[in-house]
Symmetry: C2
Subunit: 208 residues, 2 copies
Amino acid sequence: MAVAEVKSNRTASKEARRQQLIQATIKCISKRGIGGTTMSEVASEAGLSQGIVNLHFKSKDNLLNETLRWVAEEYKSQFEKTLEKSGPGPEDKLLALMELDLRPSVCDRHKLAVWFAFWGEAKAVPTYQRMCDAYDREYDEVIGRLCEQIIKDGGYQAIDARTVTEALSSMTDGLWLSCLISPKSWDRQIARDAVHGYLRAVFPKHFE
Amino acid sequence: MAVAEVKSNRTASKEARRQQLIQATIKCISKRGIGGTTMSEVASEAGLSQGIVNLHFKSKDNLLNETLRWVAEEYKSQFEKTLEKSGPGPEDKLLALMELDLRPSVCDRHKLAVWFAFWGEAKAVPTYQRMCDAYDREYDEVIGRLCEQIIKDGGYQAIDARTVTEALSSMTDGLWLSCLISPKSWDRQIARDAVHGYLRAVFPKHFE
DNA sequence: GAAAAATGAATGAATAGTCATTCATTTTAT
DNA sequence: ATAAAATGAATGACTATTCATTCATTTTTC
């Protein structure tokens, strides 16, 4: 996920240029929304000229799709790294993944604005919906497996892994919305407490 | 919040016409997103002519702002009605309000698409952000008061009303996102279980 | 090793299309 | 007949896309 280096204005690999333009697109979407993002502005944000975006991405639609893919992949790679490095128990992994969503590098208004911009168009643009849905499914599968293990491990009764998964992933998405809409009153510690409080309440043996 | 009746094509009160156009705008946003919503399409959706929207709303910006206000007011009136009619205990009111968010009339993809469309532009369009923030604050105040009463009533220790409020409102927002993005796998009962499971875990004396 | 040719990336002016907005005209209600 | 409301063609601004030209770098030739 490292952003390829851009050497000079005329010499840069195709891939590096695409990365540079995707980064510019992310900035534009965050500042002006998808509706307010124009090809010229993306080019100018990247310090390049008018036609450059059509040269590297066929069309605006394509640029936006690739940008969504990049954002989703960036998140996914952080998610996988966190999953791998945390542990050893499933409860440790679950907590680490929840905290990832609230880390300043992930839960940052500029990045959240991009996610919400795509979600906001998802019903109108089926490709966005399909892509978001696919990534969500992967996410839920991992969280679901961890919950199952925790439930089995703790012998919890009358708790359904899918329900807990839905509750947890919904909570973090909703906390993102709060951060986006009410940045003044949003408090990272309260967000963490909300998640942790839920985990403690549902899985007391693991999170007390 | 009743949608004013439109009698004939040429005789309709100014207010009725505005309502009619706002309804058309909601349909357009749901179908094509904010970016894809044009003044002509709104007019045509309403069965009226080109210039009509500029006649009744000064500009597109104004139309969108008024549409957001309408959507927020519609929700608010349902919220207040629910708050009033439920009870008697704060736990009954809280549960009723949570279930309101998951009712088919509220948690419906077409309506959710509109909310998310505005949220998706909120960072880029400060008027959207301010308005959403203001309505959110009212919501949180009511939920917060109910939680405080429940905590006091049950003598719950080490539970902070604000944290629970944030957790609950986030959860419902996140469940809305799931409904929007993954309608195929979304299950209203699981959503209800997620909310109810949280309430039971946090306020066992009230929700067992 | 230097000059010439080729390569491929970037530029930015031109094009075609879309859209919000305006307003002179038409329609309707009273 | 008059006022209010609606119409829809016209306008002007904006934007995605194209493409002929420019430029820096690399390769080839002698």
